[in-house]
């Protein structure tokens, strides 16, 4: 009996992808001075659309527009009115959610199940949540009337294009700032659909400006003299460069950088649930997640059982066409990312980390990588230390909770960690000892706008979400009072 799934394709036409997209600058859609870029569908390698990019002069114009909007309507508007704009945007995202989900899948390569059930609804939720803060800033514990910072320059990555735009824009606006945002070079489409939503919401011109382009545009934005606040999500090396470039400028900085999250499974865990958690921890979004549970730490006594069950579960993951509603693992975002991930898999194999790969068949075209597990790694191997940012899990073992903690914390990163145990006191103890900004006990990869997210150490500083996320967009300096 054939028990394979029939294809259940979402229609690509729902995205209404236009042949060309423009910058959103000072309330208008305009051509930029940079060379057009081509956005590619990672599942096929074919051109999806063409996008105009910003020049340095466009960055100047956008920052000036954002400053005018800040000095003009936006900082003078009452918080309640500002909040109503955000509520309106949240509603409009929900209304256009199907279109946004399909567009995101086409532009990014991630499965429609994720864009439909996670990326888009969570983006709407971020606007809805932060809308309510706009008239309640005095309740943040930052004084009776904390002030916004001014113009926020924001640079976001390609792994959650719309969601990262929402994470950045919503708190910035709720606090009363205006925004110049650069979406990632390979995934500009949903940010520009969001721009249509902002325009339709009658957001005053210049309050949000969206400038597609490559790293040079991002660099021009964060280093612009007219920018008061910088928020960057991306790699640790680029984050370090931005922190260095901003030295002495007094610009307030939020960095959300890389990670090498430990997912720790104790012998007393509910093993089947833990296996599900390991799978979602590393294969969610093809593992292209800064907080992915990319280092599996299993207690020695159950290591064999866990790895066997894990392999069996991974064999059932459906890898392929991202628009298929049954697909679990889609395409990596770009040729560059594909090369990086496959290159590091090779390194791991050469290091003797015991590579195992799902026997799934991969599509002929597109940047697909089969789910991969290193079953026999040691802590000093590159695949146990470096962020791979792909569907590749590295497995290590431990004997005692102390050893698990030491191994989990043995990294310059500190973004996320998972703990699987049925013993509540152990879960709490581990959560207290882990040097990570987010700890998931008996779950993984959960996000919410009410819950602060961000890293320790070289995973960055500042938070997004929660009250700490709002503080990142407010002037909280006490002028060096003693």
């Amino acid at each position: 009996m054939d028990l394979t799934y029939a294809p259940a394709l979402e229609s690509a036409a729902l995205a209404g992808i236009k042949p060309r997209y423009q910058l959103f600058l000072d309330g208008a859609f305009v051509d930029g001075g940079g060379d057009d870029l081509t956005s590619v569908n990672p599942a096929t390698g074919e051109t999806l659309t063409t996008v105009s990019t910003a020049s340095a002069a466009d960055v100047d114009r956008a920052v000036a527009a954002a400053r005018r909007a800040y000095d003009g309507p936006w900082s003078r508007m009452g918080g309640a009115e500002r909040g109503k704009y955000l509520f309106r945007i949240a509603r409009a995202i929900a209304e256009r959610s199907r279109e946004l989900a399909v567009a995101e899948t086409l532009d990014n390569g991630k499965p429609i199940r994720e864009t439909r059930d996670f990326d888009v609804p969570t983006a709407a939720q971020h606007f809805f949540h932060h809308a309510g803060w706009a008239d309640k800033l005095g309740h943040l514990g930052l004084g009776p009337a904390p002030r916004p910072l001014g113009v926020a320059g924001q640079v976001i990555p390609w792994n959650f294009p719309l969601l990262m735009a929402a994470w950045k824009i919503a708190p910035a606006l709720a606090a009363g700032n205006t925004v110049v945002l650069k979406p990632a070079e390979t995934t500009p489409v949903t940010a520009l659909i969001l721009a249509e939503i902002l325009a339709d919401a009658d957001l005053p011109p210049g309050v949000v400006n969206i400038l597609p382009g490559a790293g040079d545009v991002g660099s021009a934005i964060v280093n612009h003299d007219g920018v008061d606040k910088v928020a960057f999500t991306g790699s640790t090396p680029v984050g370090k460069r931005i922190q260095s470039e901003l030295a002495g400028t007094g610009k307030k900085l939020t960095l959300e950088l890389g990670g090498k999250g430990a997912n720790i499974v104790f012998a007393d865990a509910a093993i089947d649930q833990a296996v599900e958690g390991i799978v979602s921890g590393i294969f969610f979004n093809q593992g292209q997640v800064c907080c992915a549970g990319s280092r599996l730490l299993v207690q020695e006594s159950v290591a064999e059982e866990v790895v066997e069950k894990l392999k069996r579960r991974i064999e059932t993951l459906r890898v392929g066409e991202p628009l298929d509603k049954n697909t679990d693992v889609g395409a990596l975002n770009s040729q560059m990312q594909y090369d990086k991930v496959t290159g590091l898999v090779e390194v791991g194999a050469q290091e003797g980390a015991g590579v195992w790969t799902s026997s799934c068949t991969l599509p002929q075209k597109g940047w697909f990588v089969a789910p991969t597990v290193f079953t026999d790694a040691t802590a000093s191997m590159r695949v146990a230390r470096e962020e791979i940012f792909g569907p590749v899990l590295t497995t290590l073992t431990f004997r005692t909770p102390e050893e698990a903690l030491a191994k989990a914390n043995n990294t310059p990163y500190g973004l996320s960690a998972g703990v699987w145990t049925e013993k509540g006191s152990r879960a709490m103890g581990m959560a207290a000892g882990l040097k990570a900004g987010v700890v998931w006990d008996n779950t993984f990869n959960k996000f919410d706008p009410t819950a602060s997210f961000g890293g320790y150490g070289e995973s960055g500083f500042g938070r997004e979400g929660g009250t700490a996320g709002m503080a990142a967009y407010l002037d909280t300096d006490d002028e060096g009072a003693f």
Binding site: G248, T443, T467, A468, E479, F482
Partner: protein, 300 residues
């Protein structure tokens, strides 16, 4: 015949002990009349590195102490400073040439500032954390945790209050500190270290270096085991290089801008929370909420 006074040797404060600089270097500190007050230790790069080791080794105990306990220890610091009030006033009067009333006001403000921070330790979680109302069957909370080892360049705006006002928020959050004292005020700074040493503050929690901030701070800013920098005492034109060095390991940097009105800080003003927040990390923890039927029937 007049009795010959016993002069005190001012040394560093590292890991709970008072050693000389490993370099053997000292510098002379004079009062406003030009008389020698002391030979202070001129700390070296090696001293700074030793201080970081001491601060790291002191971290587990201090960060792991209960907030109530940390509050009690910090309150004890206030008690001990109060008992050394006369000594510190005399040192401030001698080194700065100010009137005794002014020196007393500074010491009083410093004691009160310590009491203020002693009361913060068990409120940080309530004020900067809490339960997160997540949209799913999870108990989620966020709570502040110490950043780790913080290097502090104390301001020379006055001898005591800037030192206390920078170190106490670092400690209240559960961090440990490597402090580079104001070069002009080593006698007050080392006396404050003696206060700490007799206040149940565990060894290594505060490590005090005297000497040239311009010489020592670059080593601390680039040190891989330092997690945060407070650059209040560093002149604006020297901060850029330090902030740049800090980026190599993504250190948290507190670098307050110049006061908008200019002039010295108002010592009577409440200090706000920026110094506390600068060296706190927010950790968010998620736990599933089990499907337990409250009605005693089937799970829902």
């Amino acid at each position: 015949m007049a009795r010959l006074a016993v002069a005190k040797t001012y040394k560093l404060y590292l890991g709970g002990a008072f050693p000389r600089s490993e370099s053997g270097r000292t510098y002379q500190v004079h009062d406003t009349k030009g008389s020698l007050m002391a030979n202070a230790a001129l700390a070296s790069r090696k001293d700074a590195r030793n201080a970081v080791v001491a601060a790291r080794s002191g971290l587990a105990k201090w960060a792991g102490a209960t907030p109530y306990n940390r509050g009690q220890v910090l309150y004890r610091v206030a008690e001990m400073l109060e008992s050394r009030r006369a000594d510190v006033v005399e040192l401030i009067v001698r080194s700065r040439g100010v009137k005794a009333a002014e020196a007393r006001a500074e010491v009083d403000a410093a004691v009160d500032r310590i009491v203020h921070y002693a009361g913060w330790t068990d409120k940080l979680s309530a004020v900067f954390g809490g339960a997160n109302a997540v949209s799913g069957p999870y108990f989620s909370y966020s709570a502040p945790e110490p950043t780790g080892v913080v290097a502090v360049a104390a301001s020379s705006a006055s001898p005591l209050l800037p030192l206390v006002g920078a170190v106490l928020p670092v400690l209240a959050g559960g961090n440990t500190a490597v402090v580079v004292a104001s070069q002009a005020d080593p006698t007050v700074a080392v006396t404050f270290a003696e206060v700490l040493a007799t206040s149940d503050v565990p060894a290594g929690v505060v490590n005090l270096l005297t000497g040239d901030q311009a010489e020592i701070m670059p080593w601390l800013a680039s040190h891989g085991d330092v997690n945060g920098l407070d650059l209040t005492g560093v002149p604006a034109d020297q901060r850029v290089a330090l902030e740049r060095a800090a980026a190599d390991t993504v250190k948290r940097v507190y670098s307050p801008r110049a006061r908008s009105g200019g002039g010295e800080p108002d010592v009577t003003a409440a200090p706000g929370t920026a110094r506390l927040r600068a060296f706190l990390e927010t950790k968010t923890v998620w736990h599933p909420v089990g499907a337990v039927s409250l009605a005693g029937g089937s799970a829902y």
